[in-house]
């Protein structure tokens, strides 16, 4: 093969192995200072992250070759045998303790290359990488190969070689050394087992992991992270090993800018040791569409270059699943399974499907006010397992409950009757989920769907009956009967035998003083209908409670 040494920089004393090597180096070395150093001849070797090996640049190779004679003497001491290859990389000689009649190889190796038996186990990729070095006439070190010895046993050898040129700089082949490293490989394999297990486990994780040093450079990434790095941009991309994570975050533009800044700040905090943990959830665009990620940064245990571990999980599917109504309460609405809210459950499938797109599943928290009197109704709510009190406020008095809405009803019924302003305060008194829809969209759906109109008019009427009955009940009935009624109504709407209610809250609901509630609750407890302690009410005997309630409970129920 013709030597492709040629002069690149006008200095005839510094040969270069040609455009292939230059292009490869440009691919490996991206930063300006490093490229400048290479251009000014200040660099001896470049490390290829793909192979994990360093290769000498031609000038350094030549210099080392020149003072190679003494080095070779030393090499002979450190190696088992020496070899020479011709221009086609075929062995032409081998000498040393491990060759000959008692050694690993005999004369049959002459004429063979490293690709031929008795050598083996070099993967296609490793072989190509090695061939590239040979084509560049680069020296190679510690190339580890399996081979079969003369007795047919498996051995491992480590081979180093350097190119040989004649006085006219013509390539003559390679020469080098070989060591028998069978024992070392065997003990390494044993020692590496737990390490390999750990590495394979990291690669098998669904989470993308990378480890950063104190400057924010990525020094390790697991396989999912590596696989993802290809083809992504922005903060959706994983930063490849060797690049700076913080710089990648700082580069985020547009809608990703805010998340990029937040992530960089969080990573810096954990690196500085100001915080042991940082979490961030964000949305970004990936080749697969919009993705939602959950990112966690934790401090790296132990000393050394590594400082933090960044793990990132694609939670798009999980978030989507959480948004599907009914999933939280265990019902698959989309598949036509049971629907938690009875008004919605009563609708024909077609009408229900029409509503579904406009719904969002929201979680209502205890004490949250959905609307105040006089406020525009921006959303309607269909509770799944939450409970909402409708309260009327009169100046100078505590609010009084005039309606109770759970999974049998809807909050924002005034819209159905053509009013878009609330006349009551809607107060969450049982935390849970509800289906929410924007008021304008709801009105459109309401106009379109006759079954929905029918259900909601019927429900509006039931609410009217409930309010009338409650008004009369509050005026004429004993507190104990009213409390029993209220507990029964709550029990119907909540799906639990136990509620959290303070006496103050109950007093407000029923429009009585606290002392009245204490007395009534005490009496129901004595009759073993309920148990009541520290705001926790448990229903013990529902039938008994029905008997103890005023007739208003039955009257309201018969209209629902």
């Amino acid at each position: 093969m013709k030597p492709d040494l040629r002069v690149l920089d006008g200095n005839p004393r510094r040969p270069d192995a040609g455009p292939g090597l230059s292009a490869h180096i440009l691919r490996l070395v991206k930063s300006a200072p490093e490229r400048r150093a290479i251009a000014s001849g200040q660099v001896d070797a470049v490390i290829d992250p793909a192979t994990g090996k360093a290769f000498l640049l031609p000038a350094a190779q030549q210099a080392l070759r020149e003072d190679g004679a003494s080095v070779r003497g030393l090499l002979a001491l450190a190696s088992d045998w020496r070899w020479e290859q011709d221009e086609s990389h075929r062995f032409v000689s081998h000498t040393g303790a491990a060759s000959g009649s008692s050694g690993v190889f005999d004369e049959s190796i002459i004429g063979k290359t490293l690709r031929d038996p008795p050598f083996d186990t070099m993967s296609e990729a490793d072989w190509r990488a090695h061939q590239r070095l040979l084509e560049w006439r680069a020296a190679f070190r510690d190339l580890e190969l399996g081979c079969t010895d003369r007795a047919g046993g498996m051995r491992s050898v480590s081979i180093s070689g350097e190119p040989v040129f004649d006085a006219q700089d013509r390539f003559k082949g390679y020469r080098g050394t070989m060591r028998d490293i069978t024992l070392r490989k065997q003990s390494e394999a044993l020692a590496q087992k737990p390490l390999r297990l750990a590495c394979d486990t990291l690669d098998a994780l669904a989470v993308q992991l990378c480890v950063l040093d104190s400057a924010g450079n990525v020094i390790l990434a697991n396989k999912p992270a590596g696989a993802f790095a290809a083809g992504s941009r922005g903060i959706g991309a994983v930063v490849p090993v060797g690049d700076n994570y913080l710089a990648a975050c700082d580069k985020a533009r547009g809608s990703e800018r805010k998340d990029g800044v937040a992530i960089a700040a969080g990573v810096r905090q954990v690196i500085a040791g100001d915080s042991p943990l940082f979490r961030h959830e964000y949305v970004c665009n990936s080749p697969a569409g919009r993705c939602q990620y959950s990112l966690t940064v934790t401090a790296y245990p132990g000393d050394g270059a590594a400082r933090v571990v960044v793990s990132r999980e694609n939670v798009t599917e999980r978030k989507r699943a959480e948004r599907i109504p009914g999933n939280v309460t265990g019902h698959k609405v989309a598949e036509g399974g049971p629907i938690a809210n009875s008004l919605l459950a009563a609708l024909p499938a077609k009408d229900y499907q029409g509503l579904l797109a406009g719904f969002e599943l929201v979680t209502l928290t205890y004490g949250e006010v959905l609307f105040e009197p006089g406020e525009p109704i921006r959303h309607v709510y269909f509770p799944n397992d939450s409970l909402v009190s409708l309260l009327t406020t009169i100046e100078g008095h505590e609010a009084l409950e005039v309606g109770l809405v759970g999974r049998e009803g809807m909050i924002g019924i005034s819209l159905v009757l053509g009013m878009d302003v609330s006349s009551v305060r809607a107060l969450v008194q049982g935390a849970g989920t509800a289906m929410r829809m924007n008021a304008a969209r709801f009105r459109r759906q309401f106009r379109k769907s006759l079954p929905l109109q029918g259900e909601l008019y019927r429900y509006a009427h039931a609410m009217l009956v409930q309010a009338r009955q409650t008004a009369a009940c509050n005026r004429f009935h004993e507190v104990q009967g009213r409390l029993a009624r209220w507990l029964l109504m709550t029990h119907d709407r909540a799906r639990s035998d136990q509620f959290l209610l303070t006496q103050k809250f109950l007093a407000d609901m029923l429009g009585v003083r606290r002392a009245g509630v204490t007395k009534a609750a005490g009496s129901l407890q004595q009759r073993k209908l309920i148990s009541y302690s520290r705001g926790k009410i448990r229903m013990l005997d529902r039938q008994g409670l029905e008997a103890a309630s005023c007739g208003c409970y039955e009257a309201v129920k018969s209209h629902q």
Binding site: L28, V29, P33, E34, R36, A37, I38, S40, G41, Q42, V43, D44, A45, V46, I47, P49, G52, K53, A54, L56, A59, A60, A63, L64, D67, R141, D213, S214, A215, N217, I219, L220, V241, G242, A305
Partner: protein, 93 residues
């Protein structure tokens, strides 16, 4: 005085590597006295250590501490930039 910790990545005794060691030793002797720790790493022996520290070419000098970390590439013949990278104030001449 704080101890300056450095790692110098070299390739065997290739010319620039030899020069970098000599240059760095002179600078340390003059400006840091005994207040430095220097580890010299031959990338032909330990290429993965260099990769782990984000080093792709040799010779390269990495300042590990005190922070900020800094890196300088080449045979370290430009004394000013080495002093700058190591955070050593330049002597007034």
């Amino acid at each position: 005085m704080t101890i300056v910790e450095m790692r110098l990545y070299i390739a065997n005794n290739a010319p620039n590597s030899v020069r970098a060691i000599a240059n760095l030793e002179a600078i340390c002797k003059e400006h840091l006295k005994d207040n430095f720790k220097l580890e010299i790493i031959d990338v032909l022996e330990y290429p993965l250590r260099a990769l782990a520290d984000g080093i792709l070419v040799t010779p390269s000098l990495a300042k590990m501490s005190p922070s900020p970390a800094a890196k300088i590439v080449g045979n370290l013949s430009d004394k000013r930039s080495v002093l700058h990278a190591l955070g050593i104030p330049e002597p007034v001449e």
